[in-house]
Amino acid sequence: MNDVAQVFLNPYVLFYLSSVAGVQMIYAQLKRKQKDLIAIQRRTRGLPNGILLNRPERLAALRQRAFLESALLLLTIVGLPFLLSIAISLLEGAESSGRERLGLMLAFVGLLMTMLWSAKGPLLAFVGGLAFKTFATFAVPFEIGDRVTIRGFSGKVISLSTFLFELETPRGERVSLPTYLLWNEMVVSEGDRATQCEINLYLSLCASAHQRRVAESFLQELIQSSTYLEPSKPVQIYFTAGLSATHLTAVAYAVSAEHARSLSNEITKEFLSFSQKEQIAL
């Protein structure tokens, strides 16, 4: 019994286990302190709390941080036992260090097995979340600021931390999901900030061919003159013949999802005024 106790209750095993937990706690504190310092600096400069940027964090900075967090975890869990083993040999001597080495090895294997196979709850969330976060900053399936759809919820990604992935929907709802679950989820990313917008208008069957041409040409110019149009994306206008009306569909891209409705509203209002002025029956 004493032997078993001596295998585990030695300074090296204690140092190892404390380092694994301690490094994470110290890192979290340092991160919080840095965040507080930045907040103070911004307030001193007269900047309000909310950040104006669509992407509040740069991909390069996220990558650096994810890499650092993964490296810290791996170095403490995997690298530290080897360093401690060398330290044991130097300090205790090769012949008399068997118990300490055994203790260290058992602690390392036990920790690894806990993480890999039987980890539940917070530990799984931490390791799985960190792994996904690191992966996401290098493979970049989406970035903070992108619009994505996950589990039926569409919104802007506002945060991807080790534990939580957060979306803000257009209605202002905040959807949170544990990051580690993203490994098994289908995430549809809209990529560009520009959002496709469809504007449907209906011309009366009495409208002449000339009137339809005029309407089409005006609609094209009207869309391109809108502040909310993304100019690098195409504007397309389609006619479809219906039983009771000619359906005019304009497909354009709004500069951002937040302004898609404004684009549609502006175009519809102006087109209605135009058609009244030109006496084009709708």
């Binding site: 930045i38 600096q41 911004r42 307030r43 001193t44 400069r45 007269g46 900047l47 309000p48 909310g50 950040i51 104006l52 940027l53 669509n54 509040p56 964090e57 740069r58 900030r193 520009a194 005006f218 110019e221 009207l222 391109q224 003159s225 502040t227 909310y228 149009l229 993304e230 100019p231 690098s232 709004a254 500069v255 951002s256 937040e258 302004h259 404004s262 102006e270």
Partner: protein, 262 residues
């Protein structure tokens, strides 16, 4: 006749030369034959002549594309004039060019010359550098080396005016001034469908914080105040329009340069 774009940044003043695009166009429009009138006017040019202020013919509005497209199309249809340089350089503002190239493939009609695309890449780099400084300032509150205290105060004042979700009209005005260039109150009320009082308030606010400068119209014209974005405030406007509206003119132009001029 071959044409080439010479990109300019900032709106110094309304060009007064006989070879400014607005004068050439208005004389040609007034004559019975547009192209012949242009040809006749250009006979007086020399090898150093540039067409100035091509962006003054463009407004981002219904019917606003027609003058610049008509002018550029007519110029390119003209035969080569011996005393003129080939290609004929047309000065055009960066943002108008970026917008027209994205929306109307204007760069096919008025391409950049190789040497100008290098100069343009430098201009874009400088603009992007200024915008990145603002991003860093917004993220961390650290004043970058290239940004003065005055610049920071100006940015904070502009931010207060446009950062609210109810500031759509203010953003529209900034976007219109950036793309269409110097504008009168009438331009803005008509194109953005603003009330006159609202337009005056917004323009007055931006002028008071140094974002806009006020010109008088050229002598002989109607005395209508014209507002233009101050050159030093251009990065602030680009930044706000990009982050709050989503309009990234520089990104579009960089993408165009990469695909067409590599």
């Amino acid at each position: 006749m071959q044409l080439a774009a010479n990109i300019t940044v900032g709106w110094a003043d309304i060009p007064k030369s006989q070879f400014c695009a607005r004068k050439l166009h208005s004389r040609a429009i007034a004559s019975p034959h547009y192209e012949k009138s242009l040809l006749h006017q250009l006979q007086l040019a020399s090898a150093q002549t540039h067409i100035l202020g091509l962006d003054a013919l463009f407004r981002r509005a219904c019917g606003g594309y027609e003058p610049v497209l008509q002018f550029a199309n007519a110029l390119s249809a003209l035969p080569t004039i011996p005393n003129l340089s080939a290609p004929l350089l047309c000065d055009i503002d960066l943002f108008a060019y970026s917008f027209l190239a994205s929306a109307r493939n204007f760069d096919l009609l008025l391409p950049l010359m190789q040497c100008n695309s290098i100069a343009l890449a430098q201009i874009l780099n400088d603009c992007e550098g200024a915008v990145r400084s603002l991003e860093n300032f917004e993220r961390t509150g650290t004043l970058p080396a290239q940004m003065s205290e005055l610049g920071a105060q100006q940015y904070l004042s502009l931010r207060r005016a446009v950062a609210r979700s109810s500031s759509q009209r203010e953003l529209q005005v900034l976007a219109a001034l950036l793309v269409s260039g110097p504008s009168t109150i009438i331009h803005l009320t008509r194109e953005l469908r603003l009330e006159l009082k609202t337009a005056r308030q917004i323009l007055g606010l931006f002028e008071s914080i140094g974002i806009l400068t006020l010109w008088e119209e050229e002598p002989g014209g109607a005395v209508e105040p014209t507002f233009a974005i101050e050159k030093v405030a251009v990065p602030l406007v680009i930044f706000c329009v990009k982050e709050l509206l989503g309009l990234d003119l520089m990104g579009n132009l960089s993408a165009l340069l990469e695909t067409n001029y590599e």
